[in-house]
């Protein structure tokens, strides 16, 4: 249980979240909030999230879908007068919330990000066709067909332009040293989880 304006949650963020130790350095100028391209879609802009962390609003922060609005454009990072790596803190918070299972259900960016990672982790390189289909079908088969139909012209155009290969569905690009690649990722994950005391 985090108490209001006590440091419990801030400390948790500092320990568990990528670049979380920067949160305390925010001076609430709000330049990040105003710089974000998807700003209007943030229920809580970054600077407010930082204040909420300091105010101990753990649930509200981790259950928020705000961090998932980050497009990784780095506008906030280059403008922040305190040089906070805001993009990474947002990524870190999202990742942490996701690991805890607190992030909102069916958050589309979360789903996409998961698909993306799993996709690349499988072969070492992204299979764009499977990734696209994965997005279309994330909400079930029927919705998937609908989505795919809607984007059909785009897909065909890409195929025609030789920028999408239907054959990718059956294999496609990947690293050769799959065993080494998988072992490496597994190890990295292990080390990080151990450091952060994740089960």
């Amino acid at each position: 249980m985090s108490e209001k304006y006590h440091n419990n949650f801030l400390k948790e963020v500092e320990e568990m979240v990528e670049e979380g130790e920067w949160v305390k350095m925010c001076m609430q100028c709000g330049v990040c909030a105003g710089s974000c391209p998807l700003g209007p879609h943030w229920a809580h802009p970054p600077q407010e999230i930082f204040m909420m962390i300091r105010a101990g609003k753990r649930e509200e922060v981790l259950r928020s879908d705000s961090m998932w609005m980050c497009t990784s454009c780095y506008n906030c990072v280059v403008r922040c007068p305190r040089k906070l790596p805001i993009t990474h803190i947002m990524h870190g918070l999202a990742n942490y919330a996701h690991r805890l299972g607190l992030s909102p259900k069916n958050q589309p960016t979360q789903q996409f990000a998961t698909l993306f990672w799993n996709n690349l982790a499988q072969t070492g390189r992204v299979n764009e066709l499977k990734l696209s289909l994965g997005i279309y079908f994330k909400d079930g088969f029927a919705q998937g067909v609908k989505n795919a139909m809607a984007m059909q012209s785009v897909g065909l155009g890409m195929v025609k332009a030789k920028r999408l290969n239907p054959m990718e569905l059956f294999g496609g690009h990947g690293v050769k040293d799959k065993a080494g690649f998988h072992a490496m990722l597994k190890k990295a994950r292990e080390i990080e989880d151990r450091r952060k005391n994740f089960a």
Binding site: P37, A94, G180, A188
Partner: protein, 298 residues
Amino acid sequence: MAKKTYSFYPGCSSQTKASSDNYLKSTNSMCKYLDIELKEIPDWNCCGASIGYAEGGELPRITLSARNMALSEQHNPGMDLVATCAACWLSTRESKERLAHSSQTLAEANTALNEAGLTYKGNQAARHMAEVLVEDFGFDELKKGVKNPLQGIKFAGYVGCQTNRPFGLAGESFENPVYLDNLIEAMGGEAVPYDQKVTCCGGALAFSEPEKSQKQIKDIIESAYDHGAEMIVTPCPLCQANVEIYQGEVNKRFGTKFNIPVMYYSQLITIAYGGTAQEAALDGQLVRATKLEEIAKK
């Protein structure tokens, strides 16, 4: 100028029949004209891109880039690592900085790399192809190879985010970088000033949150149109894809009638250097760049 050799990291989208197949092809052509040899990093892997954060976490992401850099160091020693994809470059360079900054991260990454029999040393620079052009050649030098100047064509140089922030090219401004404009002008084209040069295209959220991010794409194209641009030029595969592919969607959503080609600088250079439409992979455009095709026919 003497031949230049770089360790090349093409990235997932710049593979045969991947979404920026045309970027790869035109880059290869451009390099041929510039006497650049690109030695592909053997068995490179995905950089994780920015969007990898949710599932990937910090160390796995850094390790992805560390593997590429380790492979590059091992197989292409003494060269700079060069990426064409903005996200690949950014991930690589960011990882490089983190590895340099924290000995703990370095040790951890190497422990993981060890599983694949690799070690990261950190002795190569991680650069974007645009840096190579601007810094190793320079605009005057680049100008020399122009055979078919792109005269009379107005381009909107769309720099976007990740070649520009947080690192950017040395000496450039975040709000108004000019290297792309200078490149366009060097090729004989006209770079129109417009106010969405560094606006985010929505990045990966173009896929996950189309209704939110298409406003971005609309603003970019609209401003380019309004300022007289006939084509958009970009250094980033995701920018290219988002701005080109979603024009139809944007038109539907906003009632616009956009139909503007979105090109890579490498295509412009190839054409200006006298390359063919095929060399420049102009057939890879969803919206055809007819004016460039005409020049290529000359």
